[in-house]
């Protein structure tokens, strides 16, 4: 089976991280993958200004920005009128001490969360995934972002049911859910 190929030459990326050296590390990896157009920001506000003049195709943002929450930053992106910007894939890079913020980033509308330290393998695979796997994009009063369900199985309990889900049934057991997914 052939390996996935990515042509990132004309992809415009935006990288937001407070730490200069970490920015350098991720930027070098991305350049190694062939990304030539990379905008780099240290804060959320700086990134917003950059986005105003150039619409990136993908955004990499740290899990805990210095000047605003990452969820708020992503929420701002998701509320833009430009469709290219609203639907832009956002990959959140979270450090060890930021792991508690994963749910907030996901519920803010992130496409995927990647744990630091990031290996080139992981970063390449995640870019490949967000670029090639089409996900529905939901707009609801409480959430704007890609569909957070990765698997087509019923939610495990009523709490996470959507209004559009089938009428209430007994929640499937773990074994049933696994059998249905396979």
């Amino acid at each position: 089976m052939g390996q996935p190929r990515l042509n990132l030459k004309n992809v415009a990326g935006l990288l937001v991280d407070r730490d200069a050296f970490t920015r350098g590390l991720v930027a070098q990896m991305l350049r190694g993958f062939g990304i030539e157009k990379l905008m780099i920001a240290g804060t959320g506000e700086e990134a917003k200004t950059m986005i105003g003049s150039n619409c990136p195709d993908i955004c990499f943002v740290e899990g805990a920005l210095e000047d605003m929450s990452t969820a708020d930053f992503i929420g701002w992106i998701r509320r833009q009128t430009s469709q290219a910007l609203r639907f832009m894939p956002v990959i959140v890079l979270t450090g060890y001490t930021q792991l508690r913020l994963i749910a907030a980033a996901r519920d803010g509308g992130a496409h995927i969360v990647v744990r630091k330290p990031i290996s080139p393998q992981t970063l390449f695979d995640r870019i490949n995934w967000v670029a090639r796997v089409s996900r529905p994009f939901l707009e609801t009063p409480s959430y704007i972002g890609p569909d957070r369900r990765f698997h087509s199985i019923d939610p495990p309990d009523e709490k996470w049911k959507r209004a559009t889900d089938a009428p209430s049934q007994a929640a499937p057991s773990q074994a049933e859910a696994t059998a249905r997914a396979s």
């Binding site: 062939g34 469709q83 390449f124």
Partner: protein, 176 residues
């Protein structure tokens, strides 16, 4: 507002599929090469962060207590060290710093005061700093075991256990 579902066509999807580009192996090899060129600079940054950490650790706000802001600053510095130690595969430094994060985070959440536990971690980090003389495998094992006892003594969880139970691997594969 009713719920709307869009099926957007992303520009990146069209761009990455264009003729040319790099294979996974080529891209990873190139990225690794770029990273290895940054190792010396990375060691300097780690050393600088350890020194900045020492300034906070050895000057607690009160005699027996760190302030919340000091613990927060420790976590920011440690986060950077964990990222760099992991990137450049300094396993002992990575584990020691994670342990310090777990203790500092636990102290912050529980409002407990314990300077000695932080000091012990700081000394351990100094010993596994990439610029320090390398320790033997047995010594590292023993040191990490002692650090685990501190975490157990306080009953603090590892930060990695609090990641909202999201599995990083539970993601379907992308088509080739």
């Amino acid at each position: 507002m009713a719920a709307l579902t869009h099926f957007p066509k992303l520009r990146i999807t069209e761009l990455v599929g264009r003729f040319g580009g790099v294979s996974r192996d080529e891209a990873i090899a190139q990225a690794k090469q770029e990273l290895s060129a940054m190792r010396a600079e990375g060691n300097d940054v780690i050393e600088g962060s350890i020194k900045a950490l020492e300034v906070i650790v050895f000057a607690p706000a009160e005699r027996s207590r760190y302030s919340d802001d000091q613990l927060r600053q420790m976590l920011v510095l440690c986060d950077q060290i964990v990222t760099l130690a992991g990137t450049f595969e300094y396993t002992a430094l990575d584990q020691t710093t994670r342990s310090l994060c777990d203790v500092a985070d636990g102290l912050r959440r529980t409002k407990k005061s314990d300077i000695a536990s932080i000091h012990v971690h700081m000394r351990a980090m100094q010993m596994v700093n990439p610029k320090a003389p390398p320790l033997g495998e047995e010594q590292i094992k023993m040191m990490l075991a002692e650090l685990r006892k501190i975490l157990a003594h306080h009953g603090f969880d590892q930060l990695s256990a609090s990641a909202d139970k999201i599995s990083f691997e539970d993601i379907p594969a992308a088509p080739e």
